[in-house]
């Protein structure tokens, strides 16, 4: 599902922020990207998502070399094949729960399918609040809607950036279980970037990024 080779990323005029010689993730499998903060976990996630391009090396997702795509095609590819869950589970505040899913369909260039969106919310147990706005939802419900949004276009890959960092133990377990069960049910590969050690009990495979030697002040 993911193949990273001789990956280098750095900002112009600076040292490499990230170096990764090889990493392969098979379809339907999971991995934790771990390491101290500032080691480039989010950067790696953004490279896999095609939000950043590597200085050198290649990022291949589902057989597609992201560097080979035009910017427009890369955005399109991301919308179709990659689901992303952000740390704050950020929902668009002016849209209802179901509209947050519908907008994801529409932006990805897929037909707006209310039934599918409803089914996805149902699968995550928030189908009773489909017409509620984000501020009317509990934090737990917002997380579920955000995960449903990341999965509504049936991606083959789900990327999650620090999904549990601000959560207590109970919520952490619940979010991790949600992510795992949802991705397993739809045979989706799951990549979680985290420094949360609590997740290590849930996902065994880990990609540890080393601390950067010369780190620009962040």
């Amino acid at each position: 599902m993911i193949r990273l080779e001789a990956l280098r990323f750095g900002y112009i005029g600076g040292d490499d922020v990230l170096r990764l010689d090889e990493f392969v993730l098979g379809p339907g499998s999971n991995v934790l990207i771990v390491g101290p903060s500032g080691c480039g976990k989010t950067t790696l996630l953004h490279l896999i998502a095609g939000l950043l391009l590597p200085t050198s090396g290649s990022v291949v997702v589902d057989g597609q070399d992201l560097s080979a795509l035009s910017a427009r095609a890369r955005d399109h590819f991301r919308g179709r094949h990659i689901g992303i869950v952000l740390q704050q589970f950020h929902l668009l505040p002016t849209l209802t729960a179901i509209q947050n899913l519908l907008v994801a369909q529409s932006i990805a260039g897929l037909p707006v399918d209310r039934t599918a969106a409803h089914a996805m919310l149902n699968a995550l147990g928030v189908d009773e609040r489909v017409d509620a706005y984000p501020h009317q939802l509990s934090v737990g419900q917002q997380q579920r809607v955000a995960i449903a949004r990341a999965l509504v276009n049936r991606p083959k890959l789900l990327l999650a950036d620090e999904p549990t960092s601000n959560l207590d133990d109970e919520a952490c377990v619940s979010v991790a279980d949600l992510l795992l069960s949802a991705t397993q049910r739809h045979a989706v590969s799951l990549v979680i970037a985290t420094h949360d050690t609590r997740l290590k009990s849930k996902i065994s495979r880990q990609l540890a990024l080393p601390r950067r030697p010369a780190e620009p002040s962040a």
Partner: protein, 400 residues
């Protein structure tokens, strides 16, 4: 969930800001539109009244006053001219037709005009009821006069001297209404028409002594002559001839209306400029709102990008927000312009001044949406561009 719906959801989420921007745009468009509508209506009205009249001849004085009094009946006349001079002029081969107007009295604020039936034909007047006069002291009412006074055929009234209501009344000379005209949209609607003999009779009284009668008849006067040329060539020589060789004054309605419009035009320009300033303010307010939204919504924009939105789509979304406001503001502005025109029309109708059709909508008015759309587009240009350029990875990382 199209970009349009997304844009609309953001507008709906901050109703006060949206309302402010729509109102500012509406005020700008409304002000400019108001000037346009009123200018157009007054222009139409004046052109309608001046149609078929090549030259106005009257006593010496201000040519604009002569035209205002002689054609539009919006001012007092410059004076009177001897009937003899008028009859002399009518013989000129360059002139096809002369319509005399004798102005002296009024009835409830409407001029009583002593004239010939040609005057009714000039404005294509038709009788709603009754007929034209065939003797003195018979009157025909314009449509507005009939509506305002409530009088109809068979009713009797007396004129008062001058235009002011409650002036000295000619109590012993009673007119009888013999006809009422259909509305023409012209000055005819606001006049009481009689024959010149009636006006002379009211002021001379019933004179029986033939000697005295002869003297008085020699001194008869008319106020204004409306002249139609026999040939376009008349325009070259006739006005100059009248102005230099007689005691009368000739004014060209086309020239004098243009001059008048240039004078009113300054006022219209000032109002229009005010509208432009309001519109510029609206653009600035919209720019600030959108620019502010950029920072406020940086993370939302980043989320949309993670969902696969292209930078151009983000730019389009912001642009659409501005354009929705522009259309709403533009339409509301047109409504405002017509409402203001309606208020003015009501006020002018009370003054028995020019009629304004405030709700006449022309397709040209759609051009008024252009300044509104232009203002919105300009305001959205930079924010849209910046939104498209935003570094998504950095925005997401900052929050994480």
């Amino acid at each position: 969930m199209s970009l349009l719906q997304l844009a609309w959801s953001y507008l709906r989420a901050r109703p006060l800001g949206t309302l402010l921007n729509v109102l500012l745009l509406a005020l700008g468009v409304g002000t400019i539109g108001f000037v346009l509508i009123v200018n157009g209506q007054i222009g139409d009205s004046l052109n309608r009244d001046a149609q078929g009249i090549d030259l106005v001849v009257g006593a010496k004085g201000s040519p604009i006053q002569l035209m205002l009094a002689g054609i539009f009946h919006l001012d007092v006349p410059t004076g009177n001219i001897p009937l003899k001079s008028a009859q002399e002029l009518a013989k000129d081969p360059l002139i096809r037709r002369v319509i005399p107007l004798c102005l002296a009295d009024s009835f409830r604020g409407f001029w009583i005009v002593g004239t010939s039936p040609d005057y009714i034909d000039l404005y294509h007047g038709a009788f709603a009821i009754g007929r034209a006069w065939n003797d003195r002291m018979q009157a025909v009412f314009g449509a507005t006069v009939a509506a305002h006074t409530g009088l109809g055929v068979g009713d009797r009234f007396v004129g008062s001297h001058g235009l002011a209501e409650g002036g000295p009344v000619h109590g012993d000379s009673v007119y009888t209404v013999v006809g009422v005209l259909k509305p023409t949209g012209s000055v005819l609607d606001r006049l009481v028409l009689v024959n010149p003999e009636s006006v002379w009779f009211v002021h001379e009284g019933n004179i029986t002594d033939p000697e005295e009668k002869k003297v008085i008849e020699d001194e008869r006067q008319v106020t204004v002559l409306l002249v139609q040329y026999a040939t376009p060539l008349a325009a070259v020589s006739l006005p100059r001839k009248i102005n230099s060789e007689t005691n009368m004054q000739a004014a060209s309605p086309a020239y004098e209306t243009a001059r008048l419009f240039r004078m009113i035009g300054v006022g219209a320009d000032v109002i229009r400029a005010f509208g432009g300033v309001v519109l510029a303010t609206a653009a600035l307010s919209l720019f600030i709102a959108l620019y502010h939204a950029l920072n406020e919504r940086a993370y939302d924009i980043a989320v949309l990008r993670t969902l696969g939105a292209r930078p151009a789509s983000i730019a389009v979304m912001l642009m659409l927000e501005a354009l929705i406001l522009a259309v709403l503001g533009g339409v509301l502005g047109l409504l405002l312009a017509h409402s203001l025109a309606a208020v003015l029309s009501w006020w002018m109708a009370r003054q028995e001044s020019l009629p304004i059709n405030a709700w006449a909508v022309s397709s040209k008015e759609l051009w008024l949406l252009v300044p509104s759309l232009l203002a919105a587009t300009l305001a959205a240009l930079l924010p849209s561009w910046r939104a498209a350029q935003a570094n998504i990875s950095a925005t997401l990382a900052r929050r994480a």
